[in-house]
């Protein structure tokens, strides 16, 4: 059952991913990405990381995708067909990517992973504790750093997105 589910998920993810990078319509491309992200969330569910799956869904599928859609709507006509690279280049890139896949996969399969066959469910509280722990192996410092980063990014985003207008205004003043 889980196997079947995984394969379905995997196939749909690959399919949507391909669709996302090759669709000539911007909005569709974003939506395909959404499906891929949702698929990833599904994968998390399958391996029993519910909390992560939830984050994935909310932050990615909910936040980022919406952001992207907004920007698409702001800068694009929906009907606009995207320009694609030259066929020669696409084929070259495709070959390169296939080669890369080959390299990766051959590496992966030549390595014997020491799989531990336990079925422990990770609790959300554990994650929370670990994140805020100041003890050995605690992640409080990165957590703080990421918070500052997020804040900075937010302020930066606002300034960048608004900067031009301010400039124009100051320009018009005299």
């Amino acid at each position: 059952m889980e196997r079947i589910l995984f394969y379905i998920l995997a196939l749909s993810m690959v399919g949507f991913a391909i669709a996302a990078v090759s669709s000539r319509k911007m909005l569709r491309s974003v939506i395909y990405l959404l499906f891929v992200l949702v698929g990833v969330a599904g994968l998390f569910f399958l391996i029993d990381y519910n909390f992560l799956a939830a984050i994935q869904l909310t932050v990615y599928a909910g936040g980022i995708i919406v952001l992207i859609i907004f920007s698409v709507l702001l800068v694009h006509h929906i009907e606009l067909k995207l320009e694609m690279a030259k066929p020669k280049r696409r084929i070259l890139t495709g070959i390169l990517c296939l080669l890369g896949i080959g390299v990766f996969i051959s590496t992966i399969y030549s390595h014997s992973f020491d799989v531990v066959g336990e079925h422990t469910t990770t609790l959300t509280s554990d994650i929370g504790k670990r994140l805020l722990s100041v003890e050995d192996g605690g992640f409080i410092l990165p957590f703080e750093v990421i918070s500052v980063l997020l804040l900075a990014a937010m302020i930066g985003a606002i300034i960048i997105a608004k900067g031009k207008k301010l400039n124009e205004k100051t320009k018009d003043l005299p």
Binding site: L92, T93, L96, L99, G100, V103, S106, T107
Partner: protein, 638 residues
């Protein structure tokens, strides 16, 4: 004998040239004419004095004419080879001084009348002086290189004077042709000089011509292609001489050179410059005679004989009187060459050499006279062509008489000058080579014929439609005619063999009566034939012309030599060599160089794409690189 004053003879015309050349525009034409004539008069007087002193007073020591020279080093080549500048006095150079002075003086005087009113009057006299200077330098040269230097200078004066009417296309072409053809011959001359310089270690005439000298004794020491190096050198030098003296096949420039003013033709292309080739062979005569036992002299004789015949035949059919005279000159030059070619060295056997020089001397007088007479006629009727002349004896009595004297002289009618010298040449040929003798006699007949053809054509027959009545030329023109006519009659009586011989000893020549009779008879036959054909206007000339048909056509077109040369020059050298060279240079040689540049630019354009500035391209390269490194590490590292 003190010879240093002789240096003044060439220097005076040089000074006159510089004076007239530099202050060209500031001198009034009348003044420049007087300056030119006066300068030359001084030179001429000096020349005559030198000749008198040399031949009769001081030159002969123990029965041998001395060779005197004074020279300074002009430039050093190697330790032994150097060019000297100086003067060499021996019988032939003194004789040439007299020739050049006389003719040049007459031409100067004549030009004052002939060129009167021309806008380049001063320039003309400057060029004449330049030429005279160069010619003096040539005849007085002490060594081969000096003679070459002045050889070139007379060539360029000739160029300048032929191209004197520089707005006339034909004159430009003629000047160019004259210079280039002679220059081509000089190419041979120069190489001949180089060979002689290398193998004998000297350019000096006195050393070279010494019959006991090493140059002549060791002539056979080096050989190339079956002939000794010196033989080759003499052949090449003869080519140089043949170019200047218009020997077949380098004769094509001489008829065209008649584009120049007539006094120039008289001076340069009849009396003086064209005999430089003969003079050159005479100057090196001991070498020609001793090296390879006179092998080169044979060539000289045959070339001379052939040229004489060839030119005489062409002269018959020409209608431009100056061209007839030009071919006549060529023919007479052939005679002189022939005379040199059949000469021996010692005593009486040197009669060919003597006769050749004698003929040079007499020819200068009567040919200059012929040209000046023709100039007088042209001056009167403003045309060069026989068809525009006729019956002029009534209008121009002096010209008529003097021209007749000159024509009789060249025809070899005794006792005029041409008779004596021509007779001696025929004697020498008779003793040496019968074939050449027969050619000589035949040419003598032809000469008489064509000369009287134009004489009758000009002065007899019916009047033509003249725009204005022809009148006798002014005194400045007739005076030289009279002087030269006098000389044409008298110079034949000079006992030349006493003075000018190869061994410089002198001998007494005797008239060979049977041969003299034959020669004069042939001349008279020629005159008589011309009388029949041309004395009165009749159809005989045309009838005979038609009878010869093809031959006549070929002859009147000078056997198409001009066309052949033009073909070689224009079609082969211009079209097939020069143009491809020019194209090849632009297209391939330059193309290669520019191509290297262009390739660099093109390559850099291509490579520039690598640094496109697009992140995606860089990412592509980065990922490609990573993958390749991965592949290497996975598959090749183990």
């Amino acid at each position: 004998m003190n010879i240093s004053y002789i240096i003044l003879i060439p220097v005076i015309p040089l000074v006159v040239f510089l004076l007239l050349g530099i202050f060209n525009r500031k001198i009034k034409p009348s003044v420049s004419g007087y300056v030119g004539v006066f300068g030359l008069l001084v030179s001429a007087v000096l020349s005559f004095y030198a000749a008198f002193e040399y031949f009769f007073v001081l030159g002969k020591v123990d029965g041998v004419f001395q060779t005197l020279s004074e020279k300074i080093v002009w430039m050093n080549f190697t330790d032994s080879l150097h060019i000297d500048m100086g003067i060499l006095v021996d019988p032939i150079s003194v004789m040439m001084l007299v020739v050049v002075s006389t003719v040049s003086l007459m031409v100067h005087i004549y030009s004052r009348g002939y060129m009167h009113g021309d806008e380049g009057y001063t320039k003309f006299f400057a060029f004449l002086s330049l030429f005279t200077f160069s010619m003096y330098g040539l005849v007085l040269a002490t060594n081969l290189f000096q003679i070459y230097i002045f050889w070139e200078l007379v060539g360029v004066s000739s160029y300048l004077l032929i191209g004197y009417y520089y707005t006339k296309t034909s004159a430009i072409a003629a000047a160019k042709k004259a210079f280039i053809v002679t220059r081509f011959a000089d190419f041979g001359f120069l190489i001949g000089i180089l060979i002689i310089g290398y193998y004998t270690g000297t350019f000096d005439f006195e050393t070279l011509n010494n019959p006991e000298g090493s140059a002549i004794l060791n002539w056979a020491s080096y050989s190339f292609m079956g002939l000794s190096a010196l033989t080759w050198a003499l052949i090449l030098i003869f080519i140089g001489g043949a170019g200047k003296s218009a020997m077949f096949p380098l004769h094509i420039w001489l008829p065209d050179a008649m584009e120049g003013p007539t006094p120039v033709s008289a001076l340069i292309h009849a009396a003086t410059m064209v005999v430089a080739g003969v003079f050159l062979v005479a100057r090196l005569f001991p070498m020609y005679y001793f090296v390879d036992d006179g092998f080169v002299l044979q060539i000289v004789a045959y070339v001379g004989a052939f040229s004489a015949l060839f030119a005489a035949i062409i002269a018959i059919t020409q209608t431009d009187i100056k061209r007839v005279l030009a071919f006549s000159t060529m023919s007479q030059l052939g005679y002189m060459m022939l005379g040199l070619g059949v000469s021996g060295f010692e005593g009486h056997s040197g009669v060919g050499y003597m006769a050749s020089m004698f003929h040079l001397f007499t020819h200068a007088m009567f040919k200059a006279l012929l040209f000046l007479g023709a100039g007088s006629v042209i001056h009167a009727v403003h045309s060069n062509f026989l068809k525009d002349m006729g019956g002029l004896r009534k209008y121009m009595p002096i010209t008529n008489i003097t021209f007749l004297i000159a024509a009789l002289a060249i025809a070899g009618v005794p006792p005029l000058a041409g008779f004596w010298s021509k007779d001696e040449i025929l004697v020498a040929a008779y003793e040496h080579n019968r074939l050449i003798y027969y050619i000589g006699v035949f040419v003598a007949g032809l000469t008489a014929f064509y000369m009287f053809r134009i004489y009758f054509g000009i002065f007899w027959g019916k009047d033509r439609l003249y725009h204005h009545k022809p009148k006798e030329s002014p005194l400045s023109m007739t005076f030289p005619l009279l002087v030269l006519a006098f000389l044409s009659i008298t110079v034949g009586f000079i006992p030349f063999s006493e003075f000018v011989t190869p061994d410089k000893m002198g001998f007494t020549a005797h008239l060979n009566y049977p041969l003299a009779a034959i020669a004069s008879a042939v001349g008279l036959i020629g005159i008589a034939t011309a009388w029949v054909f041309y004395k009165k206007e009749n159809q005989l000339g045309d009838i005979w012309a038609n009878r010869f048909g093809m031959l006549y056509k070929w002859t009147s077109n000078k056997f198409y030599f001009d066309e052949i040369y033009m073909f070689i020059a224009k079609k082969i050298f211009f079209k097939r060599v020069s143009e491809p060279f020019a194209k090849f240079d632009r297209k391939y040689v330059d193309g290669t160089m520019v191509g290297i540049g262009n390739t660099t630019v093109a390559t850099s354009r291509k490579i520039k794409g690598l640094q496109s500035g697009r992140v995606q391209d860089y990412a592509f390269a980065f990922i490609g690189g990573a993958v390749i490194i991965g592949l290497i590490f996975i598959y090749l590292w183990t």
